[in-house]
């Protein structure tokens, strides 16, 4: 409404502004909203026929809450007006060309007059995908008006009030299953709370719906997804992008099905897990890059599932698991539409990578340099990575969607292969001295045979998927109802890790965020805004809240990723919440929503025989 700037920031506190609002009836509940932001239907087979074959039909409703990114460095930008009327901005961001596009429109400037330079952000997780366009615009408007550089850095409360969050979800399942556990019909309705503006909600809904049936085979499936407008904070991109919400529902529902059939949850999943040759809900036929059973088997073995499942029975401890998958890269025809470009240039030192993909802590620069160095047979030190600057690098697309290694890295691998041929055995620095700079630019090419229909939502939703299984071991305090996740066994297959230390960091960090999402991270909304916008009462996991992790990276090299790599950035976020809730089910607590804060657990424990006298027997000390 008002943008204020002053060279002495303390002076801003003296500014008095009166804003008159006209109040209408707000809608905070997405189910009460009449405004559909996006509607998606995925349909396969014949639901009625499927349900007719079922021995058991089980229904359930599952809910997830908002989640705040809490990158430790809040959003910030510096805008600098140029003498030629252009605008240069420096900022904490994931996607330089998104900001570029926004500023061109806002300031009515041509491509070359807007320059966006990334300063390495202190964390992103999707939270610096779209919002930076907003804060960059604010800084740019002030800079244009004042003719001076303007810096805006949010404090934590401003960041939490203003920026996007993970979409709350309501997912309803109606599932037909045979007595032997075979899934015969799945009817799934997904509702996402989009908040007040469109943001990236349509694509979040899309990824959420595509992942809603989980990594399972079912001939008759219908997924109906709606993102609704409400008068609340706009929700947007957050690591996992809709999939953590819908996979939570699927995996919590699977354990209820297992319970209803009196079947071990592992056996139910083994019966239905996708295998090479099976088709997904969108009709995508999976190849040998499908590893659902491999990760499940390894997680069961590694965690001591069978032994602990028996040993914990009747105690305050529980063990539960979740099987999940995540599509790498943009959904559907997204990558073809993006048509990302990467360049590689010789320099006096070696070669220089030119991409707009950003380092946000996940290791983009290291991993890209490794891909180029190993492809060309060069020492790592001779590969430089240019700073993402829209004036100096091609648009390799946004740094999102688990695509920076698999998609952008693959284009760089192709650049490096051609560069090696072009150099004819000469070192890049020597070639540069003799012939001047050589520049190679390549554009994304989809793997062969990818087909997608955006109208019918049929076909190859993603070029490939990564696969994972989490096993959570929890203990419930029978007095406070606090749930502590003590250990997670985390098994991932994402092709092949390019840099095992960094890849493991992605898995462990994403898993910890999933633990927070499951148990302690609660956004309290009041009048459509975040009421607990500070780290004192919106808490993220500390060392003492985060379980110890046993992390296993299984390999199944993917032929169309660099050195066999698929995406790993988001998948770790998808599994912890259902694994933790399923571990609580093992204790006898019927939880169908996250965060499963103590008040939710207490309500679930009303009829809990073990809670009588506030006393629970303790599990056998071993394990």
């Amino acid at each position: 409404v008002v943008l204020l700037a002053h060279e002495d920031r303390e002076k801003l506190l003296e500014a008095k502004v009166t804003i008159e609002y006209e109040r209408t009836d707000p809608v905070y509940d997405p189910e009460q909203s009449s405004k559909v932001l996006k509607h998606i239907v995925i349909s396969k087979g014949d639901l009625a026929k499927g349900f007719a074959r079922a021995d058991l039909i089980l229904e359930g409703e599952y809910r997830t809450g908002h989640q705040e990114h809490v990158y430790i460095e809040p959003n910030g930008f510096i805008a600098e007006p140029m003498e030629d009327g252009g605008m240069t901005v420096h900022g904490s961001l994931q996607c330089p060309f998104y900001v570029h596009k926004a500023l061109k429109a806002l300031l009515d400037l041509p491509d070359e007059k807007v320059r966006v330079i990334q300063t390495e952000p202190g964390g992103g997780f999707g939270g610096k995908e779209e919002y930076p366009s907003m804060i960059a615009s604010h800084a740019a408007l002030l800079a244009r008006k004042s003719g001076r550089p303007v810096k805006i850095v949010y404090d934590r409360a401003e960041d939490m009030w203003a920026t996007t969050k993970r979409h709350p979800s309501i997912v309803r399942h109606r599932t037909g299953v045979k007595q032997d556990g075979t899934l015969v019909a799945m009817d799934i309705a997904v509702i996402l709370d989009g908040g007040a503006y469109v943001t990236l909600s349509p694509v979040v809904l899309s990824r959420g719906c595509i992942h809603a049936a989980g990594p399972y085979r079912c001939a008759n499936t219908r997924i109906d997804g709606r993102a609704m407008f409400t008068n609340t904070n706009p929700n947007g991109a957050f690591r996992g992008f809709g999939a953590p919400q819908t996979e939570f529902a699927m995996e919590a529902h699977m354990d209820r099905i297992a319970e209803a059939l009196g079947m071990d949850p592992v056996r139910l999943r083994t019966k239905n897990a996708l295998k090479p040759g099976d088709t997904t809900a969108t009709g995508q036929t999976l190849g040998s890059d499908c590893s659902a059973l491999m990760v499940l088997k390894e997680a069961v073995k590694r965690s001591g599932w069978n032994r602990k499942r028996r040993a914990f029975k009747g105690s305050s401890r529980g063990i539960g698991l979740a099987l999940f998958y995540h599509g790498s890269g943009f959904t559907g025809a997204g990558e073809v539409r993006l048509a990302s470009k990467c360049s590689l240039a010789t320099s006096e030192h070696g070669v220089r990578i030119l991409v707009a993909s950003t380092e946000i802590g996940q290791g983009t620069r290291t991993m890209h340099a490794q891909i180029v160095a190993d492809t060309m047979g060069l020492p790592y030190e001779s590969v430089e990575v240019a700073i993402p600057d829209t004036q100096g690098v091609p648009d390799s697309g946004p740094t999102v969607a688990s695509r920076t290694c698999m998609v952008v890295g693959r284009i760089l691998e192709r650049c490096a292969t051609e560069m090696k041929e072009r150099l004819g055995g000469m070192s890049p620095a020597e070639h540069f001295r003799q012939h001047g700079a050589t520049l190679i630019t390549k554009q994304y090419e989809p793997p062969p045979g990818i087909q997608w229909d955006d109208q019918s939502y049929e076909g190859d939703a993603y070029a490939t998927y990564s696969w994972a299984c989490d096993v959570a071991e929890v203990e419930v305090d029978p007095v406070t109802y606090d749930v502590k996740t003590q250990k997670m066994t985390v098994v991932h297959e994402f092709g092949r890790p390019i840099h095992p230390v960094l890849a493991r960091g992605q898995i462990e960090g994403g898993t910890a965020q999933g633990v927070g999402f499951a148990s302690i991270e609660q956004v309290v909304m009041k009048d459509g805004a975040m009421a607990n916008a500070q780290l004192t009462n919106y808490t993220i996991p500390t060392t003492l809240d985060t379980p110890r992790m046993d992390t296993i990276m299984l390999e199944n090299p993917y032929p169309y990723g660099p050195f066999g790599a698929k995406g790993v950035g988001e998948i770790p976020m998808d599994g912890p919440a259902p694994a933790i809730v399923n571990a609580m089910r093992h204790i006898g607590l019927d939880i169908r929503q996250v965060p499963a804060t103590p008040d939710i657990v207490m309500r679930a424990a009303v009829n809990w025989p073990l809670a009588a006298n506030g006393q629970l027997p303790t599990a056998s000390p071993q394990s």
């Binding site: 460095e73 964390g123 500390t542």
Partner: protein
């Protein structure tokens, strides 16, 4: 007002109620100390005052009078903890890292995992899930952190 910063005696003119965090960043030009929340919850601004870890966002400059303040810059960049955090992936985005390293420093060499978890509980990291931080601290004191390669591979 006089105080010792990373071994050098300084005389800085600033309001006594100015946050030590702002004095370090703005008056002294040392931006290694980060602000994550401004209310003492995240620990990103952890510095040592006379050897004790404090949140520099909660400490008025007046409290640093005649004290010895150590910031991440005071470790010089080659400290075994710093090297180990690089090698073992203990730093991802890096914003919690300066505070995390200073908090780990006061725990002494080879802290037990229980002591480490309790000692770092005031420092939030959103990237690593803490496991790589535990590996970093452990590795820092193996061979005094001079090894070429990390032990945190596959």
């Amino acid at each position: 007002m006089k105080f010792t910063l990373n071994g050098d005696t300084l005389d800085i003119t600033a309001h006594p109620m100015k946050r030590l965090l702002d004095v370090l960043r703005e008056e002294c030009g040392l931006t290694g100390t980060k602000e994550g929340c401004g209310e003492g919850e995240c620990g990103a601004c952890t510095v040592l005052i006379d050897g004790a870890p404090v949140c520099a966002c909660l400490v008025p400059f007046a409290q640093a009078r005649d004290a010895e303040v150590l910031t991440i810059e005071g470790l010089g960049g080659e400290h075994p903890l710093q090297q180990a955090f690089v090698r073992e992936g203990g730093a991802q985005c890096g914003i919690c890292t300066p505070g995390m390293i200073l908090a780990a420093l006061v725990l002494g060499e080879r802290p037990s995992i229980e002591k480490l978890r309790a000692g770092l509980a005031g420092n939030l990291c959103r990237c690593t899930g803490y496991e790589a931080i535990y590996r970093s601290v452990a590795a820092a004191y193996e061979n005094r952190g001079t090894r070429e390669r990390g032990n945190a591979g596959t």
